[in-house]
């Protein structure tokens, strides 16, 4: 195996054209590819970062935003450790769709998943969603919030690094009091995915 201590899966979701692929490219390759075509299905990138001197491997799943790929992308929600929900600050409809996305996340993702709301394209002049609106929305739904620009490389590194730090803390907390989580699902949504799958250790 490669030399890393933690492996986390990060899944990006959000409407088509909000810049998910650009965010991932900017983070993993340092590029901003203009004229990026629509993502087909799911793309898969890996970047290893270092947090507190420990190697953390981030497996980033960049999903297609278009409706017809939904059944492919939905299958990735469950194994995600972090879900990044992206909208375009210069495009009201992408913000209006957020509740739908949250419903989808509720339905398919593990309920303990780390959720981050990201308003992308801060470089654009024609902002439609003020920052505080996004912030409010995130707070109301218990999400982290960040505004980014993949084009200007603003906050992109920070976004992924904070996710890595947060997930690592979670993983470490889980290590300490290891009580038996043998109780099965109590209602439909709660699952006992936790201890086994949450961090695949190398």
């Amino acid at each position: 195996m490669e030399d890393y201590k933690f492996l986390f899966k990060v899944v990006l979701v959000g409407n088509a054209g909000v810049g998910k692929t650009c965010l991932v490219r900017r983070f993993t390759q340092g590029l901003f590819p203009p004229g990026q075509g629509a993502t087909i299905g799911v793309d898969f990138m890996i970047k290893t970062v270092e947090v507190d001197g420990e190697k953390v491997k981030l497996q980033i799943w960049d999903t297609a935003g278009q409706e017809r790929f939904r059944s492919i992308t939905q299958s990735y929600y469950r194994s995600a450790h972090a879900l990044i929900l992206v909208y375009d600050i210069s495009c009201q409809p992408t913000f209006d769709c957020l509740p739908d996305w949250l419903r989808e996340i509720e339905e398919y993702a593990n309920n303990k998943v780390l959720r981050i709301l990201v308003g992308n394209k801060t470089d654009r002049e024609d902002r439609e969603i003020p920052r505080h609106i996004g912030d409010d929305f995130a707070q109301r739904h218990g999400m982290y919030f960040l505004e980014t620009s993949a084009k200007e490389a603003e906050n992109v590194e920070r976004l992924f690094m904070e996710i890595a730090v947060e997930l690592m803390e979670q993983a470490k907390c889980k290590e300490l009091p290891k009580y038996d989580g043998s109780l099965g699902p109590i209602n439909g949504k709660t699952t006992s995915v936790s201890d086994s799958s949450c961090c695949l250790r190398s």
Binding site: I40, I72, S79
Partner: protein, 885 residues
């Protein structure tokens, strides 16, 4: 003639002879003289000639230099001639001649419908240097360009007209003949367009003929078949366009494809929407879970297979196009080649057929997920434990389902699709199957594996039957017995299943990765590696499922060990008993009992689990026996008997369960201490390494009747003893709570009591309810039982922080308090009674508290009550972040 010869010939001695000789000599002299004069005269002539020659030579040198000059001049002229495009002029002369011919010829050819000739003329004209034409004009000739252009235009119009006529008549030969002329008149692109349009129309009609579903509701994959025919026709027509164009107008596949492709796309879309309507997959009710009447999963299989097949056909078609694009562009130079290939890829990516494929895949995946979920839940339903069922094929069934789905996912030809199916399968295995197994194995039945009790122990009746007529009681007993047996068998079956599940989940992942290799090979080389990594990462989801199965298995193992605890405890009692029994008979009892356990464990369980179980049971016996040693007083005989028994156990552990031998060392040493004749031998008893701490040694020695005065003895400094002291703590510690499990209940409730207040079964049910997270003592289904109120009363007392004595609780629940005190004798002395009583009763209730709190269960106790309850546990930190309702 030489003189000597002459002298010999003639006799010079004689006069006559001399005379003759003289004559002879004279004659010769004359001859010589004559010859000489001859030569002299010739010399004169030669001299004259030489003079002439030298004269001529001088003249020749002049000629040579002249010739040189002339040659240079010719050379220069030639060079000059080349520079001044003499050749071009010649060409131009030819051109001019041809031009005349062409402009005259083309019209004649058109008039004569000889398009080949006409086209050849135009081709000739187009190949001409524009300069020639200009030159011709300059020389005053009529401008031929206009005439030629006009002629070419007419020719084109005629060709187009002819082509269309031929196309209408479906005259393939003419079509091909006419198509070849277009490149000649410089309109290759137009020709390709026309050809492609013709072919598109052609294929359209043939598709309409061949690929219409006459009977959509027919059995079999009619739509997939139709789509296959459609794509085959499409592939054939593209290939035809390519081969036709390759000769005349090479590398124009993308142009032809742009025209032909929409026809195929349109028909494929028509087919796919027809299929969706027929198969009940309209977009609105794409998710069968939301349908009014959810379909039976099994009936979906043909549709699923068909969808996967259709999708894979489309992928094959695209692969074919990509391959043809490569071939088509192979004649081009590098940048143009890449461009041509990229254009084709772009047409593919943007084609409606691609979207159709994606839609099909979307439908397929939605349906496949439904199929997987429903099939798994059906398998779960069938496998849900029922009375009398002894075996379970859940993992078999689910493995079969998952494998089928994954293979079908792979058969779509799409890595993304296969990945999604893998993800879903892993979810189902982990979330449903492993979780169900975990639920089922959480509470082990009592006596799941035979471990005979020590001889002379009264066997507890497992259930107390009400007084019934003898016959009914026997019958009932039999039935109950059968159910209990079935329950045991099922538990063991589930445990083995959990083990198999882990293995099979991993096998599924490995199989999937192997089966997916052809997909990676088919995908473009640049992305193959990424696709493989993606797929393998999804397959790793199955490894997570395997972990979940292992957890279930470990849980079952723990349950099994716990269930054997009462019997282990009985054996511990037997080992520690100070009575001396008949050596041979009793000595063999424990190894025999353990042998029986080992045999059935190995028969019923995977060998790894069986070994772990045996080690754990032996460890349990030894730990308990060690605790029991402190409850008795031993005389010498008794001590020896204990030692004998422990050695037997150790010997068995050495042979029967490898890992358990180590566990016996402490007990063996303790027993040796009891059997000591003299205190001086204490160090010998602790060989080879002392496992007991100093104070433990003292405690044990205090139990030996004959060495009561030995409490103060010095064992002497022993290396390692103090370190061991910290590690090897006895089970109970101050402030800690003894962990109860269901098998401790009979001990808590007085089974030896003449009139038990609450049957073991009732207590166990209570315990189970608490364990499963149901703490609602007020809403007990069969309410009205006195015990409910009593527990409430106790809890109320606890809530008011009254000091309840141990006897109070025992009194309240009418529990045999003697049992309490024996069980917790050691701690009882050091712990405050009321606190202990609280601990015990609370522990009964909150054994599984952690999980319940974690899952935010609500129950009807107020915070104060919980605070009180948790206070003495000394474990508040563990719950500090739990909010009480």
């Amino acid at each position: 003639m030489s003189l000597s010869l002459l002298l010999e010939k003639y006799d010079v001695s004689t006069e006559e002879g001399l005379e003759k000789a003289l004559n002879e000599i004279e004659k010769e002299e004359e001859e010589v003289e004559e010859a000489l004069s001859n030569v002299l005269s010739r010399a004169c002539a030669i001299e004259g000639r030489l003079r002439t020659t030298s004269l001529a030579y001088a003249r020749l040198a002049d000629v040579r230099s002249d010739a040189q000059a002339a040659g240079d001049m010719v050379q220069r002229t030639a060079d000059l001639a080349r520079d001044s495009r003499v050749a071009e002029c010649q060409q131009r002369v030819h051109d001019l001649i041809d031009l005349q011919l062409c402009s005259a010829g083309v019209e004649a050819a058109i008039r004569g419908h000889d398009y080949e000739t006409g086209a050849a003329h135009v081709a000739r004209f187009l190949a001409m240097d524009p300069g020639s034409v200009a030159a011709a004009r300059a020389r005053g000739a009529a401008d031929p360009r206009e005439a030629m252009n006009r002629a070419a235009q007419t020719l084109r119009d005629n060709l187009v007209k002819k082509f269309e006529e031929a196309a209408k008549k479906d005259d393939e030969a003419s079509v091909e003949r006419l198509f070849k002329l277009f490149p000649q008149i410089g309109r290759a692109d137009e020709g390709v367009d026309l050809l492609a349009r013709y072919l598109a129309k052609h294929v359209e009609s043939s598709i309409r003929r061949n690929c219409t579903i006459a009977n959509p509701s027919a059995e079999g994959a009619v739509f997939a078949d139709a789509l296959t025919r459609l794509l085959e026709a499409g592939g054939a027509v593209v290939e035809r366009a390519r081969t036709l164009a390759a000769g005349a107008a090479p590398a124009r596949l993308s142009r032809a494809l742009a025209i032909i492709q929409p026809v195929i796309c349109g028909n494929a879309r028509r087919l796919s929407s027809e299929m969706r309507t027929t198969r009940g997959l309209s977009a609105a009710s794409a998710d069968p879970r939301r349908a009014q009447y959810p379909p039976e999963p099994r009936t979906l299989e043909p549709t699923l297979d068909e969808l996967a097949l259709m999708h894979s056909r489309i992928y094959l078609y695209f692969a074919f196009l990509r391959r043809k694009a490569e071939t088509d562009a192979s004649s081009l130079e590098e940048p143009a080649k890449t461009k041509a290939v990229v254009t084709v890829h772009k047409i593919i990516a943007e084609s409606d057929l691609m979207r159709t494929a994606q839609d099909l895949l979307g439908h397929y995946l939605t349906l496949e997920r439904y199929f997987l979920e429903e099939s798994v839940s059906k398998a779960l339903k069938m496998a849900t434990p029922q009375p009398g069922v002894t075996c379970s094929s859940l993992v078999d069934d689910v493995y079969f389902i998952a494998r089928k789905c994954i293979r079908r996912g792979l058969s779509t030809g799409s890595v993304d699709g296969a990945c999604a199916v893998l993800n879903e399968a892993a979810t189902q295995l982990e979330r449903e199957v492993a979780a169900a197994l975990r639920r089922w194995v959480r509470s082990a039945p009592s006596d799941p594996l035979p471990l005979p009790l020590p001889p002379g122990t009264p066997a507890n009746a497992p259930l107390d039957l009400p007084a019934l007529p003898a016959a009914t009681a026997t019958l009932l007993g039999q039935r109950l017995n059968r159910d209990v047996e079935a329950q045991k068998a099922l538990f063991l079956a589930h445990m083995s299943e959990a083990d198999a599940g882990a293995e099979w989940a991993e096998r599924l992942a490995a199989e999937a990765c192997a089966d997916a290799e052809p997909l990676f090979r088919a995908s473009p080389a640049a992305s193959a590696e990424g696709e493989r990594a993606k797929f393998q990462s999804c397959a790793a989801g199955l490894a997570a499922a395997a972990t979940a199965f292992r957890t279930a298995h470990d849980l079952a193992l723990a349950g099994l060990c716990a269930a054997l605890k009462p019997r282990a405890a009985a054996w511990a009692d037997a080992i520690a008993s100070p009575t001396v029994e008949d050596e041979n008979e009793a000595g063999d009892a424990l190894p025999a009992a353990l042998d029986e356990l080992a045999a059935s464990a190995h028969a019923e369980l995977p060998s790894r689990a069986a070994d772990a179980l045996l080690v754990s049971v032996v460890a349990d016996i030894t730990t308990r026996a060690e605790g029991r040693l402190l409850l008795h007083v031993y005389d010498r005989e008794g001590g020896l008997a204990v030692e004998r028994r422990t050695r037997r156990l150790a010997a068995w552990a050495g042979g029967g369960a490898g890992g358990a031998r180590e566990r016996c060392a402490r007990l063996t040493q303790a027993a040796s201490l009891l059997a000591l004749e003299r205190l001086a031998h204490v160090p010998d008893a602790l060989r080879p390494t002392p496992r007991l701490a100093v104070h433990e040694v003292k405690d044990i020695l205090a139990r030996s009747g004959e060495s009561e005065d030995g409490i103060g003895i010095e064992i002497g400094p022993r290396t390692g003893i103090d370190e061991i002291e910290d590690e090897k703590r006895v089970q109970y510690q101050d402030g800690d709570i003894p962990v109860l499990d269901i098998n401790d209940i009979p001990l808590l409730i007085g089974t030896h009591h003449e009139t038990p207040p609450m049957s073991v079964r009732v207590a166990q049910n209570w315990f189970k309810r608490f364990q499963s997270g149901d703490f609602d003592v007020k809403d007990e289904p069969r309410s009205g039982r006195p015990v409910t109120e009593k527990v409430n009363a106790i809890l109320e007392n606890v809530g008011q922080d009254r000091h309840i004595s141990f006897y109070d609780i025992a009194e309240e629940l009418r529990i045999n308090h003697k049992n309490f005190s024996t069980l917790f004798k050691k701690d009882f002395a050091t712990t405050e009674r009321s606190a202990y009583a609280r601990t015990v009763i609370t522990r009964l209730i909150i054994t599984q508290f952690e999980e319940c709190a974690a899952f935010k269960m609500t129950w009807h106790l107020n915070t104060a009550v919980w605070e009180t309850i948790l206070g003495p546990c000394g474990k508040r930190d563990k719950f500090s972040n739990v909010k009480f309702p």
